[in-house]
Structures are given as structure tokens and as C-alpha cells.
Symmetry: C2
Subunit: 618 residues, 2 copies
């Protein structure tokens, strides 16, 4: 890389001169803004508490902070091996087309920064409103630091709206100089995507007790397999006679250098009904894995890339140890190794912090959403099919204490077709509060997320979980079930005080579904065998999926009574009549929040900001 | 009214001082803008070609022009008897709540102008962005003239988007001084609404021949009945032996002083199969009206308040006179007399301009949309139920000449539940062009509108007409038919050269509707008699309208094959198979135009503009 002083800018090429004259007037105005910005609000380096590698080699490292007061995110992007520029941005699901991008590019002489967008063909265009605001650029031994700011909402229709939940970050590397931003087509670039929860909740960390201890559940020097995807399973166990404790916090332990490979990790507790579990240390899908490990499914801790330490609220902890609780734990690590590195060793895992001084409340986990049953199905070829699972007033009336429960965290879950998940609290027919929502949900990024606001749920409240699926790549119906090509719609909510209610989920009444199949049979001209002795999946697979049959299935799900699972454990229902229950009726919906747009800088003419970086590469 | 010089403003009340200090800084900035605006772009008075009275007394008169280059409307509002201010604005359907308003108000000392909006309770709020821009105010002997400007689209979510088609203008009169804009609640004001086509097409007027003659079809000195609504019928006749002529233009003739009472007028030609028609001059709904007048339904000319002269394109004229054409004409005038004036005399009507030098083409009128049949029905309690009528490729293939036809005007028609109407041209499955659209359609305002752009329709094209209905005030289904409480969905398109195709409309296949009734019967638990011997309206009336039955009816209309009426006249079909035809499939929809927002003035702090009008009233 060349020193910026070694080649003065006195002999620009013709192209550069054209560019310069085009932008000159604009740039003067911009520099003023830039200087003001640099003076006023450059954050210090330790002001970026969140960090994630963008690429599998870890050459690009993103740190950020969130200002809810300013409704803006400040980014610090470390570029370790800058070539001729970089694209960084956001898009609906990580695609390069229709993306919102901050672009640093060099024409071989000078460098520029600008806010751009890519069209449906991947062609870049300068944004009419410059909303990625450059705050500074700095060379350091480890690479170039770019500091910039972006408001959550810009009201520029070409911009991405930063919302709660998953954000698909994308990056692209410019390996050659480009004469202008408009000369870039992102489809041709080397790049990738990274999913993060950009809008981390702004929660104060509860005080930790002095008697707090920690234990590491980590993989014992695993050689990461040289394949893109590995789920690694390792069995650990608590000491014999380990009494009841409260987990009050946990954090990831990631082997240095493997930050870009360790995608997510979970610690599960095994079922108490078995006295012992075999040892195991190997891939989760291996034929050598003992069957019994399938009984280790009670989540104790879960971490995904970009997540930080998880703290329980100060009144509650997650009980483990003691009688009625298994000593056996299963650690599962998802290694994501797209560059197929060989021989990488890893000892990552999760560090649990726990205390014997039990907090006032045990925390619990409750499953909301849909029962795992084929009666809830998605036709093929749908771009956004919606299924809804209900936790009804009747169930919460029966199962929740009068003082209610407090939901403080949530983990959303679907299989591969899931695109959005949201749970809403409704009281007396009126939607009151979003419990957790992810409009860019990905089944590949299932974190336990602390809620921005603790949600109080009282007897008689309803919790309505809605999942949106995409089955455009499928040729037959996708039914509910446990298989990876079947679907789920679940929100695991973490709450306290723990109650007996483990499962509050629903599915359409099977009798009404039967009427639907009859109707399809009679209405369509084709002769299809939909005899009742055929299984529900088979019946769904034989539906001729025209618009009418699709629409009527939607209408059925929006109308037919439901079968409620209001259960103490997955097999034991609370006493009561739970079949053919009426759908909760909603008389008042929550309004979509109107995006607040920043009063400044407001619409600005599109112009790149020149950077004094010298030539980036020979 | 007091002269503005007689009381100097040196002793403002405490309230005024508060207001003044609140707004002082803002106002300074605003005055600069105001002065610039006044210097730059005050239009002359004769620059407002369109004019309409707002109130039934004609005290408020609105003139306007449309600049498609600036994407803005310039308004000139004449206020003949100003009290303490005036509200003028627009809302979805003429309601006072959720309206977008320009407000002139006086606190008893000073006057102000501002852009405001009313909330769902009718409470006024200053707009955060001032998009009604005051250009000037001027006192004249006849009253106060206010000049202001409004961009079609402002991108302020509180603002009304000015679109093609009907705009519901509203006005309210301030009869007392108000301390501030925020002190106004529109629900309590005296006011009203007026419907206009604000965005008049910008069409060049074709050259008129020197041999052009005119004839007035006017009411012979009618005493307007002292009731709110009167449809007046008057029979006129052409001279005996009147040969074939072309109507090439027509315009309204409105008796001076009655501008606010004459709501709309139409001239119909009677059926040629009757040799003579009786004379008549009286209310259309009178028992004395001869039955035979019902055979005078062929529209020759139609005018509604706010409309101007109607010109045929220079290649075409509307044929009348000559063999095979009735000599008898029926003039129908809708008098709207909400203040129940007594003894007003009127001789309004329509002046037809015609020529014996026939133009190259006869113009024709074709009916698009839905057949008048009860199989197309709207459930009760719907806020926006959509029905669609098709003119299929098969019909246009058969009936249109290879060179195609040119649609140059259109009259949309529904009965009382109609809220929106749109016709789209589709070719090879792709929507190409909107023929005519009215997103604020009112059955009380049915003009023949010249199209901004002539639409060429070729054999194989499809014309799809979609109507949206509101039946929230109804307790039983609304079926298609001729009755005022039944519905229609029609677009009368005016085109040339005339073809044999008079009617290109559709309705759902009755067999599929029968399957729907069976399905409703079987699916719902209730026992309803839907025996086939019962009439279709009776079957619709007995459907239990739950969400499922509503949704499935929608799905049926979106899926079931159609019965096509591809007719030479209302009773004679073109030869061919027209039953159980497939619905046209649309693979590509027209995109909603993205609203263009004005680059200036952009968001401005909310502040009223003070006006030097002195005190308005003692």
C-alpha cells in the first residue's frame, strides 16, 4: 500500500477532473457539514460495545452502538486489508439487489464515501438523500477505521428501515479501482452477509451477588470439521450432589481467532427421568451419537454471533441442580466454515454464572405459537403465507397467578420457510403491546433476545403469535411438524415467576379442516381422493393448489375454531374443555409506528464525500 | 365590516401578545419566504380557468388552475362575506375529520393563514410542514380574494394526495374570533362539501369548423322545486328531416345566479324504434311522467358542476339526426337545493355544437364492467369490497378492428355503495395503462371526463374494470341490478371509430355461484335453506355473513370462470362461446406511482403567516 504523501494530487487524470468539476460545488457544502460533524460527535473507540466479524476470515469487523435518544446507530468498521473500496449495508434478507449501502471507493487516485442503493439488477445509484453520514476515517496499524452514523429511519424510500429484530448486513469488496459509484454492480462483487440484532436493548445490568461462581461448558479442543456446516455435540455433567442454584448470567467463550466460525451455541439440560447419559463428543448428526442425547432439549443458555452476555432480571434466576433436575448437560455448537478451513482447533462454549443464594423467583420458559401438527399447513409457491397460534384468555385465566408473570426474554423459532415472527399481547380484545417481533427473521439466527421492555401478562390476557412463511421454492404443501422441511411457529418466552404452564399453543380444529378437504373435493372439477382414511399430510399433498383453494385455506385458518394446548408439560393438559374453542377476536389492532424521520440533514443533493486516504493500492 | 385603518394594532390583548411572542422568530423567516413568493409567482386573475361555487348560496367561489410542470394547483378563493375566517381543504370523502385544511382565522385583531389538519375528533392542528402556500390576499368590492398554491403531493403523511378523479373539497366558516388555530374544532362549524375534478386534463382544443351550428337544449323557465333534490325531465325534439350531423362540442348553459343549484345535467336520445314521444316538462319521478320516457337513455351529452365544455377529438364526432336515429331528446337536470330556496326560476341546459361536415369517424360509447345481474353481490358490513368486470381478449379480438380504437373520454358509474372505480388496459397478461381511475369516486358526481391521454385498444387487449363498495350501513347483501339499492360497476367509454361492440362485460359463472351456496350450506353449522329454486338474491340474503363466507365469496369471484357479454346491443351477442370463460390472468401489475415530493419548501416549522387584513368584523 502506498503512502498518501508519495504521489501529490496535482496531476489528476481527465476522468478525475470531470468528476471533480461535476461535484465541486456540492463538495464544498459537504465539507463544511463534514467538518462540523467531525468536531461535534466523533465517538471514542470504546464507545462501540457491540462487535461482529462480517466475513469468514475476519478481515472486516463491525462495531456499533445504539442511541435511542438520537434514534441512530453509530458504526465503526475496521477494514484490515483495504483494496479499492468496500460496500457495507443492509437489505431485507441479505440480498445484494435492492440494498441500502454505504460505499467507500477509489478511482485509483482519490477515495470517496457516499450513501447509495442498488436496484433490482444490482446496479448502484447515489442516494438522493445522504443518510449514511461519515464521521471520520483513520488509519491504524491493524487497518482502516471508518466511522459513520445512520438514523434508524430516514424516510428516503430507497433506504432500509432499521427495526428491532434481525438485520441482514451485507458487505462487498472492490478489488479494482472504479471511475464512479455508478460504475459498480454489486452482483459481480466478492462479498457476503452477516445477520445481527442491530438494535440491542438498552438494559441496565442487574447487580451481581458476591457469592457468584462460574462454570465453563466448553468443547474440549475440537478440530473444526472442514465442511461448511457442522453441529457439534458435547456432553458435560454437573458435579454429583450439585444442589439447586440459580443461573443469573451467561456469556460466550469463543476461542481467539475463531470468532468468524462459531455461529451459535446452546446448552441444554437433559431429561430428569433418566439417571445417566452417555458421554459424547462429536457431530450431532453422526450415526455414533447415542439416541438418548435426544432427551437433552431443555434450554439453559443460548448464544448466537453478535450477542453479548445474557443477564437474568435481578428478581429471578434459572434453576438448575438439586433434586428433580438432571446432572447432564449437552453443549451444541454450530460451526459455520464456508471457506472450509482445515485443522482449526476450537474450545468455545458458554460460561454460566450461578449462585446458591437463590433469588426470589425461578425463571420459566413457556412455548407460545402453534402445536406441531400437520393440520397447520402452507400451500406451495407462497411468498408470504401467514399462520397464527393462540394462547387464549381461557388458558391464561386458569394457569397464571393473579399477580401475572413478567416476560423478559424471547427466542423465536421456525424451520426453513420462516420469514417473520411476531407475538402480540391482547387484553379484552385490544392489542396492547408487541412482546417480540422480527420482520426479517431468519431460521439461521435464533438468539434468545432480552426484551427492551418487560411484558406483564395477567390472567385473561391473550398472546397471539404470527409467523410468515415463504414456500416459493417448494412444489408441495409444507405441513406442521418436527421435520426440517415441516414447519413450526414458536416463541419460547422466558419469564418469572415460573408457573405450571409450559405450553400455550393452538391448531385449527381437525373437523373443520376435514370440511375444507371435502369442500376442495366438491368445488374443484378434478377428481381427487380425499378419503378420511388418508393422512392429513397426504390430503394436503393432493390438494390442487389454485388460487381458490389457497384463499379458502387462509379463510379457514382465520375463521375455524381451534384446539388449544394449555399444558403443564407437553403431554399433560390443564383440566377443561380445550377443543373447538372460538378464535380470540381482536377489535382494535396496534397501529404501525409512524417512522420518525430525522429533521436534519434532510434531503441533500447526492454527492460523494472525498476522503484524504491517498491511493489505496498500487 | 370595519376598515382596516380605523383601529391600529398598537394595543394588542394579552392573548395576542402571547401568540405573537410564540411565533415571532418563526414569522420573520416566513415573511421572507412570503415576500419572495409574492414577487415571483402571483398568477393573474384570468389565469384561473376552472371555477366552482363551494356553498349553496354561492358566497364562496373557488377558481383554480393546474400546473403539470410544477405538479401543483393554484387556487383563488373568493370570500364574499368574510366573518372571522374560513377553512378550505380536502378529505377522502368530504368528511371534516382527518381533513387537510388551509385556514384563515382572526383572533378579533389580526388575521393569520396556515396549513392545518383535523384529527379523527375534528380538532385542528398546525401542520408540521406548511404546504398550502399563501401567495397573496386582496380586498375587492365583491369580497376578499385569497391566492394560494398546493403541490399535488407533499409527502407529509397528514396531507391529502391530490390525484386524478374526484376531489372532495370542504369548507367551514368561522363565525366568531378564535384565539388560535388549535382552538378550532371543525365538527362544530357551519360548512359543507363540494366535489370537483381538480386535476383537469391539459388538452389542446381541436379546431372548430366554420359551418359549426349550435342548439340549446334548455329547461323552459322551470321553477326549481323547494326541496333538496329534484331530477327535472324535459323533452325536446330535433327539427323534422334533421339529417345526420356530428356533435363536436357541448357546454353547459347555467342560468345566472343558479350556479350553486344546478348540480348536473344530461341530454339523452330516445330509442329509434318509437316514432314519437310525448312532450313532458316536470320532475322525473312524477307519476305524471309518461312511461315511454324510460326509453330515452342513450347519452348524447353530460355535464356536472365544475366541468367545462366537452370537445370531441378532431377526427371524430357523435352522430345524431338522420335515418335510424330518434328525433326526440330528453334533458335531465339534477337540482340540488339544500337550503330549500323557493321560487327560483331556471332555464339551464346544454348547448350542443354540431356540424353537417361529418368528421372522419363516428364516435361510439361502449359499456365496460359488470353485467347487471344479482350473481355479483356485496356482503353487508364491508368497508371496501371489490368487484371486477372483464372485457376479455376473446371479445376484443372478435369485435375490434385491426387498427384498434381510441378511447378519449370515460364516465364511471355505480349506484350508492360505489367508492372507487378503475379501468386498466392489459395486453398479453401485463397491465399497461390506466384508462380512467377515481379513488374518491362518488355516485353523486358522474361526469364524462376527457382522458389526459387517449388510450389505444387493439384486438386481443383486455379491459378490466374494478369497483370498490362500502356497505357498512347495510344489513343484508347488495346484489347487482338496476335498483338504486342494487349495484352496478360500469365504465362508459367514449371512443372512435365506432364499432358494433356496445357492451363488453362479465359476471361470475352461475354454476360456480351455485357451488358457493352449497358450500356455505355444508360448511356452516346453521341449517339454511339454499334450495336452487330460490332466487339468487334470496340465497344471498340468507347467507350468514361470517368472515369465512365473506372471504370465500371474495375467493370465488377471484377464481371462478365468467360468463361474458360481448354484445352488439344489449340483447345481441357476437357469435361464439361466452359461458365459463377463464378469468384473464395478470402476470404483471402496474406499479403505484411513487409520489413525487416537492424539493422545496421542504419541512418547515409550523407557524401561521400573519395577514394585513385588519379586523375582519366588529
Amino acid at each position: 500500500m502506498q503512502n498518501s504523501g508519495s504521489k501529490p494530487c496535482s496531476c489528476p487524470s481527465l476522468k478525475l477532473r470531470e468528476v471533480a468539476s461535476m461535484y465541486f460545488t456540492m463538495v464544498v457544502a459537504f465539507l463544511v457539514i463534514l467538518v462540523v460533524a467531525l468536531q461535534g460527535s466523533v465517538p471514542r473507540e470504546n464507545d462501540f460495545p457491540y462487535k461482529v466479524p462480517l466475513d469468514p476470515q475476519g478481515l472486516l469487523e463491525l462495531s456499533w452502538n445504539v442511541s435511542y435518544a438520537e434514534q441512530a446507530v453509530h458504526f465503526q468498521l475496521l477494514i484490515r486489508d483495504l483494496q479499492f473500496g468496500l460496500l457495507f449495508g443492509m437489505s431485507d434478507r441479505g440480498e445484494f439487489e435492492n440494498a441500502d449501502l454505504a460505499v467507500l471507493w477509489s478511482d485509483g487516485h482519490n477515495s470517496y464515501f457516499g450513501d447509495a442503493w442498488s436496484d433490482a439488477e444490482g446496479q448502484l445509484h447515489m442516494d438522493s438523500q445522504q443518510d449514511y453520514q461519515l464521521l471520520g476515517a483513520r488509519r491504524a496499524p491493524e487497518g482502516l477505521y471508518l466511522l459513520f452514523r445512520r438514523a434508524f429511519s430516514t424516510c428516503d424510500p430507497k433506504d432500509y428501515l432499521i427495526e428491532d429484530g434481525t438485520v441482514h448486513l451485507i458487505y462487498g469488496i472492490l478489488e479494482k479501482p472504479v471511475p464512479s459509484l455508478q460504475a459498480i454492480n454489486v452482483s459481480a462483487l466478492h462479498g457476503g452477509l452477516q445477520r445481527v440484532q442491530l438494535l440491542k436493548p438498552n438494559i441496565s445490568i442487574p447487580e451481581l451477588p458476591s457469592d457468584m461462581k462460574s462454570m465453563e461448558i466448553t468443547a474440549p479442543d475440537v478440530v473444526i470439521p472442514s465442511q461448511e456446516t457442522t453441529y457439534w455435540c458435547y456432553m458435560a455433567e454437573l458435579p454429583e450432589g450439585f444442589s439447586k442454584h440459580h443461573i443469573i448470567m451467561y456469556e460466550p467463550v469463543v476461542t481467539a481467532g475463531n470468532e468468524a466460525l462459531v455461529h451459535h451455541m446452546e446448552v441444554f439440560q437433559c431429561a430428569a427421568e433418566f439417571d445417566s447419559f452417555p458421554h459424547y463428543n462429536g457431530p450431532c448428526d453422526s450415526k455414533m451419537k447415542p439416541e438418548r442425547l435426544n432427551y437433552c432439549r431443555h434450554v439453559l443458555a443460548a448464544w448466537a454471533m453478535g450477542a453479548q452476555a445474557f443477564y437474568y432480571p435481578e428478581e429471578a434466576g434459572l434453576a438448575f441442580g438439586g433434586p428433580g433436575s438432571s446432572r447432564y448437560l449437552r453443549l451444541e455448537i454450530h460451526y459455520h466454515n464456508p471457506l472450509v478451513f482445515k485443522g482449526r482447533r476450537d474450545s468455545s462454549g458458554i460460561r454460566l454464572y450461578y449462585t446458591a443464594s437463590l433469588r426470589p423467583y425461578d425463571a420459566g420458559i413457556m412455548e407460545l405459537g402453534l402445536v406441531y401438527t400437520p393440520v397447520m399447513a402452507i400451500p406451495p409457491g407462497e411468498d408470504a403465507f401467514v399462520l397464527t397460534g393462540y394462547c387464549t384468555d381461557k388458558c391464561t385465566q386458569l394457569a397464571l397467578p393473579a399477580a401475572g408473570i413478567r416476560i423478559f426474554a424471547s427466542q423465536l423459532h421456525t424451520h426453513l420457510a420462516g420469514r417473520k415472527v411476531v407475538t402480540v399481547l391482547s387484553r379484552a380484545g385490544r392489542e396492547r403491546q408487541v412482546v417480540n417481533a422480527d420482520g426479517h427473521y431468519s431460521p439461521h439466527f435464533q438468539e434468545i433476545r432480552m426484551l427492551k421492555e418487560v411484558v406483564a401478562v395477567f390472567p385473561g390476557d391473550e398472546l397471539i403469535t404470527t409467523c410468515t412463511y415463504n414456500t416459493e421454492d417448494r412444489s408441495r404443501a409444507t405441513v406442521g411438524g418436527f421435520g426440517i422441511l415441516e414447519e413450526m411457529c414458536v416463541n419460547y418466552v422466558h419469564y418469572y415467576p415460573q408457573t405450571q404452564l409450559e405450553l400455550c399453543k393452538s391448531a385449527v380444529d381437525p373437523g373443520y379442516l376435514h370440511r375444507y378437504f371435502n369442500l376442495v373435493n366438491r368445488f374443484n372439477d378434478e377428481e381427487i381422493c380425499m378419503c378420511p382414511q388418508v393422512s392429513v399430510p397426504q390430503q394436503f399433498y393432493s390438494v390442487p393448489w389454485n388460487t381458490f383453494n389457497r384463499d379458502v385455506l387462509k379463510s379457514l385458518y382465520g375463521f375455524a375454531p381451534i384446539s388449544m394446548h394449555c399444558n403443564k408439560s407437553s403431554a399433560v393438559r390443564f383440566p377443561g374443555q380445550w377443543e373447538k374453542q372460538p378464535l380470540p377476536s381482536i377489535t382494535e389492532r396496534l397501529r404501525e409506528p409512524e417512522p420518525r424521520c430525522p429533521p436534519s440533514p434532510g434531503p441533500q443533493p447526492a454527492a460523494p464525500v472525498p476522503l484524504e486516504l491517498g491511493r489505496l493500492r498500487r
